[in-house]
Subunit: 155 residues, 2 copies
DNA sequence: CGCTAATCTGACGTTGACGTGAAGATCAGC
DNA sequence: GCTGATCTTCACGTCAACGTCAGATTAGCG
């Protein structure tokens, strides 16, 4: 699409700092299949990352945090992302249109599941917020009445 | 306020079932100070609970789930609840108005903190939802164009 | 080339939040 | 007063999600 400017590849420590985690976590995510295992390495086996990896990792951490899912559930949630990434690489006619359609269709399913989770959470949070504000109003009222009474008694 | 009908006290197993957890968890929460440790017991040391305990436990589990906090953070979050419960017991003039005011004021602070957390989460979830719907639109568009092309090629 | 910081691969340690018995005591219905 | 379900207190086990340390290797700058 654009920006084939060959960005400088990042090393694991930089990636970790960028997303606010540690190299160990990045390796762990690779180990359990949340990040691609066969990615780029230097001649000496040091891992190399691009900005899309950073983006992916950020989204993983965000989903985990906001949806409160385990890494296992997380993997299932973003499963289709991998297929789409693979697809991007070989958009050059290697895959059949049929296959491409399948992948896109599956992506839609996974996105729907994510959206469903997000909205369920939003609903629950909204209810919680209602309850908390109601409670706060009650406490505020109590406090106000208490102070009025004290003021009255001092007269 | 009302309903001093002396509800039948519940035992730990019933409470656990009511809130969808296990007796072990209830004991654990008591152990770490999330539930009062010196509560009612039968002659034979079996724990007894009332409906307000059930309510409290429900809210604890909900906060934990929705806010994604540790039990330690959770304890800090609901700290004021305990003070208010203690207050309820001695609302009968034992405590001074000054003390009561302090407790109510503290409650407000804790409620504000909870609300802050809730709203922060809501914001993040809203952003996440935006991104997911945008993504979905893109995939939908891609899929549509792909199908149109295939249909055209078949002609 | 040499040096230091960063990274590599294991492998074992840790922490939170419970699960899972064991061994006995208690509760409630008959 | 017996009996089966439920409860008690330890105490050890477990699982996910990393932390941490060791020992060797590599990156890359002067």
């Amino acid at each position: 699409m654009s920006a084939a400017v060959a960005e400088r590849p990042l090393r694991i420590g930089e990636v970790a700092r960028l997303v606010g985690t540690t190299p160990r976590t990045v390796r762990y995510y690779e180990e359990i299949g949340l990040l691609p295992a066969g990615a780029a390495r230097t001649a000496g086996q040091h891992r190399l990352y691009g900005s899309e990896d950073v983006h992916r990792l950020r989204e993983l951490l965000r989903l985990k945090e906001l949806l409160g899912v385990t890494l296992d559930e997380l993997r299932q949630l973003v499963e289709a992302e991998d297929a789409r990434a693979a697809l991007r690489d070989e958009w050059g006619r290697t895959e059949s249109d049929r296959r491409r359609g399948e992948i896109l269709f599956e992506s839609l399913g996974h996105l729907a599941r994510q959206l469903d989770l997000v909205r369920r959470r939003q609903g629950e949070l909204a209810r919680l917020e209602q309850e908390l504000t109601a409670k706060r109003r009650r406490v505020q009222g109590k406090l106000r009445r208490l102070r009025e009474r004290v003021a009255a008694e001092e007269a």
